[in-house]
């Protein structure tokens, strides 16, 4: 993703850098939604991050090379900030043979494990212990100063996997930053049917985590809190739980009109659009002009359009060239057998 040049480090530089990834992610999501409506997504699912970008991007920009990142469904912004290219993202969604998963897996299920960027499996909570294991391995290898971050929704916290992963990180005192995106719903299910505590941050103490809460609609807050949490983990202060509150501003997937969302939530502070708030913040601070904001968006659109044009020309995977072998040790494979 070198086509968007990070803003120079002026006052508010970090904010602007994050903001531009946020814009890029929003624009990419809008394009994916349009491609979905046009029937251009093979097989069909598109899952957007609208409303979660401020939180997500704050995770991405807080990490650095050597860190581990296991993003989830709505982490398009964090992925870009962590180093994924728009082209890679599109390849995976459009099923290009050249994508990171080569058409074998799709949409949000993408990553490059060698780069510390893990491809989620669908089972919620399942990535947490994988991050733990990578951090344990780094410790075995004598590496330090690394951090692992992963994200989960309010609904995902109800899984046994979440609990076991949190507890494991606590026992091993790993530099894990667990980011919980409490966007008020798990698909159609409101948080009242998902947990019975006041805030999910109340769980931090039970795992020996330091807990943080943040308003997920405010990029400046997210950057601050994530920066702090990642910094604490990096400094050996043990695992960190960040719980962000905001509202999912889209359907569960693009097939879902989300008509079940409580209208009063949309009107509440939780329902504000983090992108709009960030723009207002920039203008208020005088970090950029409206004109620049428009230009940045245009650049993001260009980046996406160029990438789409490129990726749409790329071939899908060829079933005849496919090896049908799930093992590295090919001699032990029964792959083609039927």
């Amino acid at each position: 993703m070198n086509s968007v040049v990070p803003a120079p480090l002026l006052a508010g530089g970090e904010f602007l850098r994050a903001f531009r990834w946020l814009v890029q992610a929003r624009v990419l999501d809008e394009k994916l939604a349009a491609l979905y409506r046009a029937g251009k997504i093979p097989g069909g699912g598109v899952y957007l991050g609208k409303g979660q970008e401020a939180l997500s991007v704050s995770v991405g920009v807080s990490l650095r090379q050597g860190d581990v990142y296991a993003p989830l469904i709505r982490d398009g912004a964090g992925r870009l900030a962590f180093g994924e290219t728009v082209v890679d993202a599109l390849r995976n969604c459009l099923g290009s043979q050249l994508g990171p998963m080569r058409g074998r897996d799709g949409n949000v299920h993408r990553g490059r494990p060698r780069d510390g960027y893990l491809p989620m499996i669908s089972h919620l909570g399942a990535m947490i212990p994988v991050v733990n294991g990578m951090l344990m391995a780094k410790r075995f290898k004598g590496q330090s100063g690394m951090v692992g971050a992963t994200c989960l929704g309010d609904g995902g916290t109800s899984t046994g996997a979440f609990h076991e992963g949190m507890n494991q990180a606590g026992v091993e005192r790993l530099p894990l930053v667990m980011v919980v995106a409490d966007n008020q719903y798990a698909y159609s299910t409101p948080t009242s049917r998902q947990f019975a505590c006041r805030s999910l941050v109340d769980r931090a103490v039970g795992y020996g985590f330091t807990g943080h809460v943040v308003d997920g609609t405010r990029l400046e807050d997210c950057l601050g809190v994530l920066g702090e949490a990642v910094g604490l983990a990096r400094a050996g202060k043990g695992p960190q739980l960040v719980v962000a509150s905001f509202l999912r501003l889209c359907g569960h997937g693009e097939h879902d009109d989300a008509s079940y969302i409580d209208p009063s939530l949309k009107q509440s502070a939780l329902g504000r659009d983090c992108l709009e708030l960030a723009q207002a913040h920039i203008l208020e601070k005088g970090w950029a002009s409206s004109q620049e904001l428009v230009e940045w968006r245009s650049e993001a659109v260009m980046t996406v359009e160029e990438a789409v044009a490129l990726v749409q020309k790329e071939p899908g995977p060829d079933p005849y060239a496919e090896q049908w072998c799930a093992l590295q040790t090919t001699r032990l494979s029964e792959g083609g057998a039927s």
């Binding site: 997504i41 093979p42 097989g43 069909g44 699912g45 099923g95 998963m101 058409g103 074998r104 897996d105 799709g106 949409n107 299920h109 499996i121 669908s122 089972h123 919620l124 609904g155 995902g156 109800s158 899984t159 046994g160 996997a161 798990a186 698909y187 159609s188 299910t189 049917r193 998902q194 947990f195 079940y260 899908g316 995977p317 060829d318 079933p319 005849y320 496919e322 049908w324 072998c325 799930a326 494979s333 029964e334 792959g335 083609g336 057998a337 039927s338």
Partner: protein, 321 residues
């Protein structure tokens, strides 16, 4: 009027709720929203307090169903996708499946697993898990292939005093339609001759029945008469009906959408070989999905699972043996 496989599942649940106060439904998003596939659409409104949204806790969902069953209820559990039943797997095979045998207290729970591949669903939203459940004692595993069976077998599942794993196929949800709901049905445990034929038997279940029927249709134009047996339940397996068909045709191909190692096709072929050896004019054959995770891309997916085309070619080979 016409009714889809999915609507039949909804109607069966509506009827079960209406007729038996012990029935309730529990699963993620099954309440007001009506479920990820709308299999419980309107039921929460129609039956207040009896269709409950669950947290994303498959282990606790199944465990609670067992507890409710002990207290005399007859819960229907919806897993959002069959693939997500793994976190609940322990409760199914070790708690639900052992309860009656250990204590003589029956465990009448029905677990609906939206199963099988659809284009673009990828490795974690496409699995056919019947073999995992069928392997463990204490469970009944149903795999309805028709709208009529989706309806009547689900009603039967709820009525049965044992845990039933109800594998409903997502590909059939919208693709399959019938004119009306049945008033009578074959009992669970009985296979059905989906199409009679005298040259070769194809044993299939769930969505593969339709691939087999399409293959039979195509081969009929060439004069080959394929008999298609729809297993309906894969645990127990109706070995008698299978053997009787093989006795008529002398040749058999067993088709399944699941992974190749040790699933329904292995069990069926093993039974045919053991119990119907003398009836065979040629070695029994199998056709399964490939031994890799289920691919996302439609190109790959179409090549991964058996289709009418690959069934036709397997039958042609079999007829040459």
């Amino acid at each position: 009027m016409s009714i889809t496989y999915l609507e039949a599942i909804r109607e069966a649940q509506a009827k079960a709720l209406a007729e038996d106060p012990r029935v309730f439904i529990y699963g993620q998003d099954v309440g007001d929203f009506g479920g990820a596939f709308k299999a419980t659409k309107g039921l929460a409104q129609e039956f207040p307090g009896r269709v409950l949204d669950a947290p994303i806790s498959e282990d606790a969902i199944v465990g609670a169903a067992v507890g409710a069953a002990i207290e005399g209820m007859r819960p229907i559990i919806e897993m959002q996708f069959a693939d997500f039943s793994t976190p609940g797997f322990n409760q199914v095979i070790n708690q639900a499946a052992t309860l009656f045998w250990r204590t003589q207290v029956p465990c009448p729970i029905t677990i609906r697993l939206p199963s099988g591949g659809t284009s673009g669903s990828g490795p974690f939203h496409s699995q056919s898990m019947e073999a995992l459940y069928a392997h463990y004692p204490g469970l009944i595993v149903m795999t309805p292939a028709t709208v009529e069976d989706a309806y009547s077998m689900l009603l039967e599942a709820v009525a049965i005093d044992d845990p039933v794993i109800f594998c409903e196929h997502k590909y059939l949800y919208y693709h399959l339609k019938a004119d009306c709901l049945p008033t009578e049905a074959m009992p669970a445990g009985k296979a059905r001759i989906a199409r009679p034929g005298r040259d070769v038997t194809v044993v299939a279940y769930s969505a593969m029945v339709h691939e087999a029927l399409a293959a039979a249709e195509e081969l009929a134009t060439e004069g080959t008469q394929v008999e298609v047996v729809d297993l309906r339940t894969v645990k127990p397996i109706d070995t008698d009906t299978i053997i009787a068909s093989v006795a008529r045709t002398g040749r058999v191909l067993v088709v399944g959408e699941a992974f190749p190692w040790g699933g329904v096709t292995a069990e069926v072929v093993a039974r045919i070989a053991t119990e119907g050896f003398g009836l065979l004019d040629a070695p029994p054959q199998r056709l399964n999905a490939k031994d890799t995770p289920i691919p996302y891309h439609p190109n790959l997916w179409a090549a991964h699972r058996p289709t009418a085309r690959s069934i036709v070619s397997a039958i042609r080979n079999l007829l040459r043996l």
